[in-house]
């Protein structure tokens, strides 16, 4: 039987929202306080949802140890306590939470094989969150 498993992780990082394609004024008006040249930080909450058939011999969709290990090594190691603007992923892209959500989805989509990646949900603060399911619509 198919079930969906969601695991929540926390990491903290700083960023500055600034687009080289915009003028100084346009950056200021678009990003407001987030355009402050010294940057600022957030405690991000990441929710990874995977799906699959529940295996009879284990009662699991996939072993949580594998998911935790992958996220720890490939995502939290990269982003926790970092300045996002200095990372290769954000040399060209603005480190908005939209873009970060897509970057994290792509890392999981490419590298995590034990279960099907359903979606990534990323909370920048308790007041806003972003969800990405690749090309797919969010069904649930």
């Amino acid at each position: 039987m198919k079930a969906y498993l969601t695991r929540r992780y926390m990491f903290s990082a700083s960023h500055r929202l600034h687009s080289d394609a915009m003028s100084t004024e346009e950056n200021a008006s678009t990003y407001g306080k987030c355009n402050n040249p010294y940057g600022h930080g957030h405690n991000y909450a990441l929710e990874v949802t995977v799906s699959g058939l529940v295996e009879e011999s284990t009662g699991m969709i996939c072993n949580l140890v594998d998911l935790d290990g992958f996220v720890e090594q490939r995502i939290l190691e990269q982003f926790d306590l970092q300045n996002l603007n200095t990372l290769p992923e954000f040399v060209r892209a603005v480190p908005t939470t939209e873009n970060l959500c897509v970057v994290i989805y792509d890392i999981l989509q490419r590298g995590f094989t034990p279960a099907h990646l359903e979606k990534v949900r990323l909370e920048e603060t308790m007041m806003n969150s972003f969800e990405y399911a690749g090309g797919a619509e969010l069904l649930r």
Partner: protein, 136 residues
């Protein structure tokens, strides 16, 4: 269509063990969760039903009835229990969060009359939950 979610909390203990596997395999797959004396969680259950609003009552479902069904079908048999030993489903199935969501769905689905069961969500901890939407 309106979706309505009712929440309930229960505390239970469990351990993970497959008798068809060797002790070494059980240990490798389930790690600390394989301790036969068990360990416990405060589970949070979210049951979502869907249906049209009844024009007379303004309800999708009578919450009091839903609560009674949850109490009878889930809380009475799982709250403050050792799942492996006291809940019939888990005499033969491993009481993972996945299987718990499925078992709760199977208990509730046939009992709901007015509204249709849409989703069972079981939180094992605040940072781990499983959703089950039925077999379809």
């Amino acid at each position: 269509m309106i979706y309505l979610t009712r929440k309930a909390e229960f505390a239970a203990s469990h351990y993970y063990h497959n008798p068809d596997l060797t002790p070494a395999e059980n240990q490798r797959i389930f790690g600390k969760c394989n301790n036969p004396n068990g360990h416990g969680h405060n589970y949070t259950l979210e049951v979502t039903v869907k249906g049209e609003v009844d024009p007379r009552s303004g309800f999708v479902v009578d919450l009091k009835q839903l609560k009674e069904i949850l109490n009878r079908e889930v809380m009475d048999s799982m709250d403050h229990r050792f799942l492996n030993k006291e809940v019939p489903e888990f005499l033969t199935r491993i009481p993972t969060t996945e299987n718990l969501a499925i078992a709760i769905w199977q208990r509730l689905a046939p009992k709901l009359k007015a509204a249709q069961l849409y989703r069972v969500r079981v939180y094992e901890t605040p940072d781990l939950f499983v959703d089950f939407y039925g077999e379809a």
